[in-house]
């Protein structure tokens, strides 16, 4: 497909520790189309954030390495780029919003300074006043009131929601093709969360970038995303259009996740939780990784990992119990 901006194939990022190998990302594949919002959902610790950092090639220190797979950005594999080439790609073609606005901004530089650094890369040789004008415009774009005053302020003078808007402004100032949003609203108040999501949606509509939206909250997925990929223990277990996934989830894990979202409508909705713990990423079972928590488990689930089954037009699931359409 020509409008695919980002394609990830069989990505493996492991932590090599003294105690053993933690297979945090273990064979992840998905694709992202121009102007689309893809949700990446899963419990904490399932490898969502590490997938994002692998795409940015900003792995945490201490033994994390991407050992296998391809990340095709506009058709070229960025895992093969040199560090210097990768720096050119970051911010300009692929960018990211981090989880915690309180620590994402450098406390000793003003907001304007930090925004300027990002804009300068796109506008090489522009005068300072031009760049500052653009920085003000960028703040206005993320709906910050009185940006002329805000631009000289330091992060500690702003609220969390406002800081996250600034982080957003910085992330998109390079006009990237792909924006990764790693649980951008988790640290915000509920009312602010909604505003921020609307803002992201609007920005995305304005410049047609693709968003990889990482969250653990299925409720947010329904509001934000076009398609959704469900991740469990280092792999994507189900992927498809939001509507289909909500209406007819195929994988038992997805079903359990959706059942655990509190519904606004419907009376006496009983909240379900998923029993048990996900398997240790250091010692993964040979068979289906959800088998130990699955209500429909059978012997062959324990013996071998199920292949990816096409259940609908764009809908896939990794489960023995579903049949191909």
């Amino acid at each position: 497909m020509s409008d695919t901006v980002l394609e990830v194939r069989d990505l493996h990022t492991h932590f090599f520790l003294r105690r053993g190998v933690v297979k945090a990302v273990d064979g992840v594949s998905f694709s992202l189309r121009r102007g689309e919002v893809l949700g990446l959902v899963g419990e904490s610790g399932c490898g969502k954030s590490l997938t994002a950092l692998s795409l940015m090639r900003l792995l945490p220190k201490g033994g994390a390495r991407t050992i296998k797979g391809e990340v095709l950005l506009g058709g070229e594999n960025i895992l093969e780029r040199t560090p210097a080439e990768m720096r050119e790609i970051r911010g300009r073609r692929i960018s990211m919003v981090l989880q915690d606005p309180q620590t994402s901004l450098n406390p000793v530089f003003s907001v304007g300074d930090q925004l300027r650094e990002a804009i300068e890369r796109r506008r090489k040789g522009a005068s300072l006043s031009e760049i500052m004008k653009e920085a003000v415009a960028a703040l206005r774009r993320v709906e910050i009131a009185a940006p002329e005053q805000r631009i000289g302020q330091y992060p500690h003078q702003m609220s969390g929601g406002m800081k996250q808007r600034v982080v957003g402004a910085i992330a998109i100032s390079g006009e990237p093709e792909v924006l990764i949003a790693d649980e951008p609203t988790t640290a915000l108040d509920v009312t602010i969360q909604l505003q921020y999501l609307k803002l992201l949606k609007r920005l995305q509509a304005e410049n047609g970038m693709a968003i990889l939206f990482i969250t653990h909250d299925f409720g947010v997925v329904g509001r934000m995303c076009d398609r959704v990929a469900v991740m469990y223990a280092g792999r994507i277990v189900e992927c498809g259009p939001v509507k289909q996934i909500f209406e007819a989830p195929s994988h038992p894990y997805t079903r359990a996740l959706i059942a655990s979202v509190p519904k606004m409508t419907g009376s006496a909705g009983r909240l379900t939780t998923i029993e048990g713990q996900p398997p240790s990423l250091m010692d993964l079972p040979a068979g289906c990784r959800f088998a130990s928590r699955c209500a429909h488990v059978e012997q062959h689930c324990l013996d071998a990992y199920p292949g990816t089954v096409r259940v609908g037009d764009e809908h896939t699931a990794d489960c023995w119990k579903v049949s191909a359409s």
Binding site: K61, G91, T103, V108, S110, H156
Partner: protein, 305 residues
């Protein structure tokens, strides 16, 4: 900001009062301080005169009032050995020390901070380990012995540098190294650990996401934050620098306040020692206040609070 300075100033005054009180009562620990304050050849008339000026025949609190009163007017007693007002002797020597300390600080920062950054960047590598060894050694060597060792190597054996007294630029080299070694070790260690902490932070990740070059990320975003604790070190080092100056100036016969302190000790010149300690305390507090203000300037979180 004004409130911040005012508060620090108040704390300084309180601390100074504590120092003065301790000094005063220590002098009275072993009976009549007159015996400590007069030369051995003093006449009984001298004795009576001093007892009267200090009010030593009165109750101890009155004596303390007189002591404080005199001190406020700049009278900190008279040196026994030099037969000169102690405060005067101190201020005569102060410039010589103030010509030594900035160079030692400069050496400490110019060497220690870049070394700390490099050690943090190569964490666990041979550079880091080499720097760590130097730091461990720098703390384990008594600085007076280091000074003597330097004299032995560079003055006695090699004959490159003078071993004592003030003079041209070459006279500064060995004392500055002696005084600065501890600082190099200290600045290095703190810069390293501060850098390691900052390098793991989210805002550094964001700086990388922006696509900034590694040079900008390390030397601008990381170092500027790491410098905040490093700057506080100045304050910590003021006290150490004064102690270090006593030792260094003794080894190199440098005519500063450190040497004056040493002389006051070995000649049992109590009035001089008492004055020197009070004045050095004021110096320490003043520099600390300066550092606090500078600190507030570097860290916007304090400046604008």
């Amino acid at each position: 900001m004004k409130r911040f300075i005012a508060r620090r100033l108040m704390q300084g005054v309180v601390l100074l009062c504590m120092v003065a009180t301790i000094v005063f009562f220590l002098g009275r620990l072993t009976g009549n301080p007159v015996d400590l304050m007069l030369p051995e050849d003093a006449t009984p008339e001298d004795r009576t005169a001093l007892i009267q000026t200090l009010g030593l025949d009165g109750p101890i609190l009155d004596q303390f009032a007189i002591f404080v009163g005199n001190a406020v007017h700049g009278d900190l007693g008279t040196s026994i050995r030099m037969r000169q007002p102690a405060a005067e002797a101190f201020f005569d020597r102060l410039p010589n020390t103030l010509m030594l300390i900035p160079w030692a600080l400069l050496l400490g920062m110019m060497l220690g901070i870049p070394l700390g950054v490099v050690a943090a960047l190569h964490r666990g590598g041979w550079l880091d380990r080499a720097a760590g060894t130097v730091a461990v050694l720098g703390v384990a060597m008594p600085s007076f012995w280091l000074g003597i060792l330097l004299i032995f190597v560079f003055s006695v054996e090699l004959g490159w540098l003078p071993s004592s007294r003030m003079g041209g630029p070459d006279h500064y080299v060995l004392p500055v190294i002696t005084l600065g070694t501890f600082l190099v070790a200290g600045f290095m260690r703190i810069t390293r650990s501060a850098m390691l902490e900052v390098m793991e932070s989210e805002f550094v990740k964001l700086a990388r996401i922006k696509g900034l070059s590694e040079t900008t990320v390390i030397w601008k975003h990381c170092l500027r934050n790491a410098l905040i604790p490093v700057l506080t070190l100045w304050g910590v080092f003021v006290g150490n620098l004064i102690t270090g100056a006593i030792v260094t100036e003794t080894v190199f016969a440098w005519p500063g306040i450190g040497r004056l302190t040493y002389e006051a000790v070995i000649y049992r010149d109590f009035p001089l020692l008492q004055a020197v300690i009070i004045l050095e305390s004021i110096l320490i507090l003043a520099i600390n206040l300066g550092v606090d203000i500078l600190y507030a300037y570097v860290d916007p979180r304090i400046r604008l609070a």
